[in-house]
Amino acid sequence: MPTVALHTHVFHRVVASVTRMAGLPEARRAFVPQPVMGKSAAELRAYVEGADPITGRPVMQEVIEGLTAAVPPVTLDALHTTPRLVEPDTEASLQRLFLENDWTDRLPIVLPTEERVAAMLARTSHRPDEVVGRMQPTANRGLWEYTVEKVAVNAVMAGARPEYFPVILALAASQVTARGSTSSSAAAMAVVNGPVRHEIGMNWGIGALGPYNHANATIGRAYGLLSQNLQGGSVPGDTFMGSQGNGYTYGNLTFAENEERSPWEPFHVQRGFKPADSTVSVFYGCRSTTFGLGLRELHWREHVRDMLRGIDALTAPCLLLDPITARQFIDRGGFDTKEKLIDWLFETAKMPAGEYWDLQLVQNYLYPRATFGEEPYASKLRAAPDELIPIFNRDDINVIVVGGEANGYWQIMGANYRRTVSVDEWR
């Protein structure tokens, strides 16, 4: 059936890319200015009666012609397979080439020479040409494929040491991109558990989330670089549309859980692994963070409730607790397991239904699911406007212990859990 898609103008390069990957580059389209959200009827009428910001022609002329005018054939250029090597050049020229090709995070990289890549490959039993997975910046962009060697190239570029390689391969095997294209500028978070934390000297203590440990820093950077390069790019306006960007994406919040000082079972054990297994758990959607100090005796419940309400309603809270605060949660609330704490967090994080459904993120992503009849959203939709309803799904809430007990500071990260991958399987 003849169809025309209306888009907002800032996405015109994305539309060209998506239609090309779908095998339909001549798909008819018209553009109106961004934003549509929140505009009055008069403003939207002016959009419809105005000019397409991309072509300069009237929007409705583009629409009518898109439904009725013959479409000239468009050649679909075949994507070339990726060569294994780059044309040899000097170090300075190659650094410039990698920068100009959008292959870096705009910081200097370690050039992936054959020798360096071979050293990385020596730390896994997997063959260099084994396919590790497929990745794309967002749905419908086309899944790009990558091998063990391709992951090694990006690990070298990030400055990672060869002994970190199984962790980096496990991150690649998660097939969760750390360079999603979402206009919300989400970041990933990677949490390492098990003996590999000790083996490669990761940090779970003072400064674990910051740039103070070589393994944390370069594994996190490698996760970002491999995501953008192995999914076919992360270029603003094309394969990346994060409106503001996100500083978390430099290192992708990569750290180890402080299992030794945690009063609870480690995160990977919660996910069905044994304590002696080494794993990396991947989260996505990090863009809202709240933080506090300790738990006061009188109003700690209210304070935590307020922090929970500071997390965007679309992304589940993941508590990042310094061991001091983890123990305080036991002292104050008697939560001697993470599960008990999560139960309480679920019951505490509530807001009036009217406010909840009026959030733009909820309107975009959850209200349609509610009207479709999907639970628990459909039940929430039946609540009266002033009835308190849970903001989050209970099973989406997580708790991780990290920090060096310099004080009882703690954070809530909005972070959706994706999966836990065995590091041991990539040794």
Binding site: P2, A5, V48, V63, L76, P88, T113, G142, M157, N364
Partner: protein, 99 residues
Amino acid sequence: MAGGEKLSVLNPVGYPPKVSRKALAPRLEGLDGKTVYLVDARFDDSIELLRQVQAWFARHLPSVSTKLVSLSSVYHRDDPKTWEEIKANGDAAIIGVGH
């Protein structure tokens, strides 16, 4: 490593997917007497823009029937029921707002 020495390095980019060519549906000869579905993607108040598109048709091309429908769920989920309705009862579609 001397500054002028040429180095051989590996390409960091993954392997692109194979693209299957699809054919565009034949276009209509005209819209007179036709039914055009306006499909609300339910993103960022897209229905409000489509209401203005519907009003434009009423003002400028009253011989065209328009029907405004919303996707059954979020935009990234397939919606076979809606597609079937449009195929059965419509001649063309305008979908928005893409982003």
